[in-house]
């Protein structure tokens, strides 16, 4: 790695964490559990989603262990079904959906727009409690025997043919859904109504634009999955018939309602990550993001188009050929805004002064892996090839490339980038770079073989497979072990850094953005005086002018 770095830390001999900050302002457990401070709520979320991530990760480990051998020998097939179901439910609803918005979004959005808090702080806290309630319900479900329908709850399997805990899992997802709705609602109101003077829409950091787009999705799409869960519950308990062919119902109706949310859900998951990438790429190329307007509008475009493509998850399920045609065409459309972003980020790098600190390493990983994942999505959106590739490991690889290679890497980039702001301390750079590289290697070993497996025809959600697929599965499991190490390391060194990390100061990355103009960790009220925004986003000249004026102050005072 390059020894060039943009990090500028204050003199460690004299630097101290500011005495008054949001962490020290109040003490005691109630000050955390009853807080209305968006930053404390973000920390609460960070702890909880990390917890659920490792549970989901342990389930992933069990899956990969089972798949080391062609036979279903580690666990009963029914148990395997339960393991991958809970892996999906926990990772999607309790990790990916809230990951960036509820942690980084909550922490940063008010600061980035120059506000003291979100518009509805108590609703924000309620969001966290709903998330915890849903999460604990999910854990309870695992304890009492789990559910084996797959995270997609496909009817009529989930309504008429299984005896497992569909209702409790459904309730857990329902409750977590409201957590997501309230977070999104809060963000939309805040971004519209609480921007500081001078902070026009087109001076907002792209991180805010990305969260705005994701929040619209959260508000409009999530209620539909809520009603679909209610319908499943009533179908299971009373037998209302909406999904029951013997009474005239159509099982596909559930899938329409379910995927109407679950497709926008993938954009809810990725858009905030893309927001992180915009910030990191700009900072570590020392350049404004190329084509700011295009990137901002493409976020909204992804959100809007994302509503029109859901049935591409249902091509082989029995929808009409005409619907297949319509949705396949619309799916081609939704790829365009994502591609625009990748192009714009690449042009941001061109002629920039690039350095390779950890957030930037994760960002490079994101750009490569998300591109691969996105391109394979085109194979799946094309109905002719989808018929062969769907429900195989090709799909599994596709969504893990975009979600893990994309979203999770963006999340880690963001955590590392804003760690000094959140905690006041720097993480250790060398080991974190190592962890990033280990993660990248482990990821590719785990999921690239799965593209090949899928093309060769290995079905997904099967505990056993033909013996000729074993070698690739062994590769994949080996990669998963490396990946696990890559994810464990950050937990260890980030916790270490809380006590022993270097004092970061206000702006170790020399980044633009209002959050970097305040102390680290910030005050509870974020700003001493209401900021007034008088420069464009990513304005490095303005930043330079600031630094020169500060120097002049110091030299003239002395």
């Amino acid at each position: 790695m390059s020894s060039d770095t943009i990090v500028r830390l204050p003199d460690q001999a004299t630097a101290r964490i500011p005495k008054d900050n949001y962490l020290t302002r109040e003490n005691g457990i109630l000050s955390w559990l009853l807080t209305s401070d968006h930053k404390r709520i973000a920390i609460l979320y960070l702890a909880s989603i990390t917890f659920f991530f490792f549970i989901g990760g342990a389930l992933a480990g069990l899956i990969r262990l089972e798949l080391l051998t062609p036979q279903s020998d580690l666990m009963a097939t029914d148990t395997y079904n339960k393991v991958f179901t809970m892996h999906g439910v926990i990772m999607i609803f309790f990790f990916l959906v809230p990951s960036v918005p509820a942690t980084l979004g909550n922490f940063l959005i008010p600061m980035m727009i120059g506000a003291k808090d979100l518009a509805l702080p108590r609703i924000n806290l309620l969001s966290w409690y709903l998330y915890m309630a849903g999460g604990l319900l999910a854990l309870y479900t695992m304890a009492v025997g789990g559910v084996d329908t797959g995270w997609t709850f496909t009817t009529p399997l989930s309504t008429h043919y299984v005896n497992t805990n569909v209702l409790t899992t459904g309730l857990a997802v329902f409750v977590a859904g409201f957590s997501s709705i309230f977070t999104g609602l809060n963000f939309v109101v805040t971004i519209h109504k609480m921007r500081a003077p001078g902070m026009t829409w087109f001076r907002l950091p792209l991180f805010v634009w990305a969260h705005y787009a994701a929040s619209i999705l959260m508000v409009l799409a999530t209620p539909v999955v809520a009603i679909s869960i209610v319908l499943i519950a009533l179908e299971r308990t009373i037998g209302i018939g909406v999904f029951d062919p013997t009474k005239g119902g159509d099982p596909l109706l559930f899938q329409h309602l379910f995927w109407f949310y679950s497709h926008p859900a993938v954009y809810i998951m990725i858009l905030p990550g893309m927001g992180v990438i915009s910030e990191v790429i700009s900072t570590f190329s020392r350049k404004r993001v190329f084509g700011y307007t295009a990137v901002a509008f493409s976020s909204v475009a992804i959100a809007v188009f994302g509503f029109f493509v859901w049935a591409h998850h249902m091509f082989i399920m029995g929808i009409s050929n005409y619907a297949v045609l319509v949705f396949s065409l619309l799916t081609m459309l939704v790829a365009v805004p994502s591609a625009i972003k990748i192009f714009n980020w690449t042009f941001t790098l061109y002629k920039g002064s690039i350095t390779f600190e950890t957030p930037m390493l994760y960002t490079f990983g994101f750009m490569g892996l998300f591109t691969i994942g996105g391109l394979t999505g085109v194979f799946l959106g094309t109905s002719g090839t989808d018929i062969h590739l769907t429900e195989t490991y090709f799909i599994v690889a596709h969504f893990h490339f975009v979600m893990v290679g994309g979203m999770l890497m963006a999340f880690l980039a963001g955590i590392h980038f804003w760690w000094p702001k959140i905690t006041g301390r720097m993480y250790p750079e060398k080991i974190s770079q190592l962890a990033a590289v280990v993660t990248f290697i482990g990821f590719n070993f785990t999921f690239f073989p799965q593209f090949i497996l899928g093309t060769l025809g290995m079905p997904r959600r099967y505990a056993s497979y033909p013996p000729e697929f074993q070698i690739l599965n062994v590769f994949s499991t080996a990669g998963a072990t490396i990946l696990g190490v890559g994810y464990l390391l950050p937990v260890l060194y980030l916790v270490w850094s809380l006590k022993y990390g270097a004092v970061a100061g206000n702006n170790p990355w020399q980044a633009t953005g209002l959050e970097w103009q305040t102390q680290s960790p910030p005050l509870t009220e974020n700003f001493v005086e209401m900021p007034i925004m008088d420069h464009e986003a990513y304005d490095y000249e303005w930043l330079e002018k600031q630094e020169r004026e500060k120097e002049k102050e110091v030299t003239s005072a002395g």
Binding site: K193, P197, F308, N321, A323
Partner: protein
């Protein structure tokens, strides 16, 4: 400040509300009366048209959207648009499943 707040200062008075009330009552009577007449495939169209007119009156006047900011209007339109997307794209599948049999 962020967005100009226009709506708080227009106080809508009783006269407007009474007018709308009567319009809604008339609409209700109309739609019940129309449902007793055999108009073939026009029946549901008329019923929905009257319902939509009533809903529009409630949204514009009782809910003050007529006197509110463009953002409020945009929010209402966005909700309606999303609902229509859900219905129409889902129906695109159902209508085309057995061409001609509907």
């Amino acid at each position: 400040m962020s967005e100009p707040n226009e709506h708080a200062h227009t106080i809508v008075g009783p006269r407007v509300y009474v007018t709308i009330l009567f319009a809604l009552l008339v609409g209700t009577a109309l739609t019940v009366w129309a449902s007793f007449i055999d108009l073939g495939f026009w029946n549901p169209i008329i019923a929905l048209a009257i319902a939509t007119t009533k809903a529009t009156l409630v949204v514009l006047y009782f809910m003050h959207v007529r006197y509110s900011s463009k953002l409020t209007m945009l929010t209402v339109v966005a909700g309606i648009f999303m609902f229509l997307t859900l219905v129409s794209l889902t129906l695109a599948d159902y209508i085309s499943r057995a061409w001609g049999s509907w």
